[in-house]
Amino acid sequence: MKEELIIAGFGGQGVLSMGKILAYGALMEGREVTWMPAYGPEQRGGTANVTVIISDQSISSPILSTFDTAIILNQPSLDRFQDAIRPGGTLIYDSYGIMQPPSRTDLHIYRIDAMDEAAEMHNVKAFNMLVLGGLLKVRPIVTVENIIRALAKTLPERHQNMIPLNEKALLRGMEIIRPEQSA
C-alpha cells in the first residue's frame, strides 16, 4: 500500500494539522510516513500545503511533483496542483470561493462543502476534520478509530476536551462528501 497525497489551502485552515493527524493515524497502523510542509511565509497567512506519504515500505523522497490524491481548499491551490494529480487519481475540493472548478476529466473528483458545514455547526475549527472525514470516506487509507487515537496523541492537554467534537466532524464529513465525476 502506498498513498502520495497533498493537502493545500490557506494558512490557518488547519492544512498542516490535518496532514499531521492523518500521518499519526497511519503511524499507529504500523505504516511508514513522511509529512513535509511548505514551511515558508505561507504559514503566516498565504497559501499552505503539506505532502503526506503513507506506505508499507520505507519512503524515499519526501518531495514529490505528482500525487495520487489532492485535497484542495482554495482557488490558488486548485490552479497550482490540479495538473500534479496522476491520471486516475483523486481530487477532493471545497467549493467555497472556487470560481474556476476543476477541469480535469481523467480524475475521480469529489466535492465537500466543509466551509459551509463548519459555519452551520458554529465551529470553524471543525473545518479540517470535516475534510479529513471526507477523505477517509472515499480513500479509507486510515481507520477512523486510529484518527481519533492520533487526535488524542497530537492535541495538547488543554484541547483534549475537543475530541468528541472532532469525532463528530469527522463522521459528518463522511456524510457530506459528494462524488462529482469518475475517472
Binding site: K20, A23, L27, E32, V33, T34, W35, M36, P37, Y39, G40, P41, I59, S60, S61, P62, I63, L64, S65, T66
Partner: protein, 353 residues
Amino acid sequence: MKGNEAIAHAAIRCGCDGYFGYPITPQSEILETLALEKPWETTGMVVVQAESELASINMVYGGGATGKRVMTSSSSPGVALMQEGITYMAGAEIPGVIVNVQRGGPGLGTIQPSQGDYFQSTRGGGNGDYNVIVLAPASVQEMADFMDLAFELAFRYRMPSIILSDGIIGQMMEKVVLPPFKARRTDEEVARECPWAATGCRGRKNNILTSLSLDPDFMERHNQHLQEKYRIIREKEVRYQEILTDDADYLIVAFGSAARISQKAIELLRQEGLRVGMLRPITLWPFPTQKIKELASRMKGILCAEINSGQMLEDVLLSVEGLCPVAHHGRMGGMVPTPEEVATAFKEKLINK
C-alpha cells in the same frame, strides 16, 4: 516527529550537558523543543537562549574546554557567524557539536532548504589549516542517531563536529525510534576522560586551552599534529551507504535530503530499465574518496545530485580521477529538485548527451 525535534530529544538522551543557541528558521524547533522539555529539571542539562550566534559558539567553546558535552544549532547565516569560534575550537582542540539546518544563501538568503554550506563545512570554514567532522543525516531517524555519534567523534578526536542537515530534514516529520537514555557524565568521569580539560588544577599542572602562540615553530608542530589527527580520521571514520550498486551501470552520488530525492529518481530510472545505484556519503568530511574511486572504475557515468551549484561535485571529481564521466544537477537559493527532475537530468547529461 520533526527532524529538529528529534535533534533536541536525542541531545537530552545522549547525556548532553548544555545547549546554547539563537533562534533562526528553519531550525528554531530545536531550542523550542528543549524549552518545552525542560531538561534542566530532569537530566540537569543547561539550555540557554544566547544573545547571538557569536555568544552561542563562544559558550560552546567555554563549555567544551571544561570537558562538557555542549552544543549549538543554527541555520546557514548563523553558522557563518560562528566560524571564528569553530576555528578557535579546532586550534585549541576543544570538542563540541554544531547542528546546521541549512537554508538558501548566500547572505541572509531565504528560509527554504539548501545544501549550499557544503564548502563551508568540509573546508574548515574559518581561517587556518583545519577540518571538522561533518555528518549528513538523510532522515529524521538519522537526526536522532547522529547526535550521540557527533559527540563521540568530537571527544574521541578533540575537535568540533557538525551535523549538516537542511530545511527538508529539519522540518519533515517521520517515524523515529529515540535512542535510550544515557546519563550525563559525573565531574569525576569528565576529569578522567578529559585529562586535558580545564576542570580545576588542584594537585596537577594547569591545562591551557588556547589557539594562540607567538612562536611559529611551535605553531607549525601543532599544525603537523592536527594534520596527523586528520589523517587518522580519514583512515578510520569514513561512513557511507550504498544502495543498489551491485548490478549498477551508473551511479548517483548524493547526500542528505538530495539522497532521498535521488533515491526516488533511481526508482523511476530503474522502471525504465536503467541500472542506476547510489552512493550516499554519510561523513562529508572525511569523504568516501576511496569507495567512490572503486565504484567509478566499473561505472559508465556518475551524476552528482545536490541542492547547490556543485560543491560536493569537486570531491567526487577528485575521487573519480577521470575514470568515468561525471555530471552534476543542482538547484539553488531554496529551490528543491523533484525526483522527476533528477531522473531527467540524469538521462540528459549521461545517456542522451
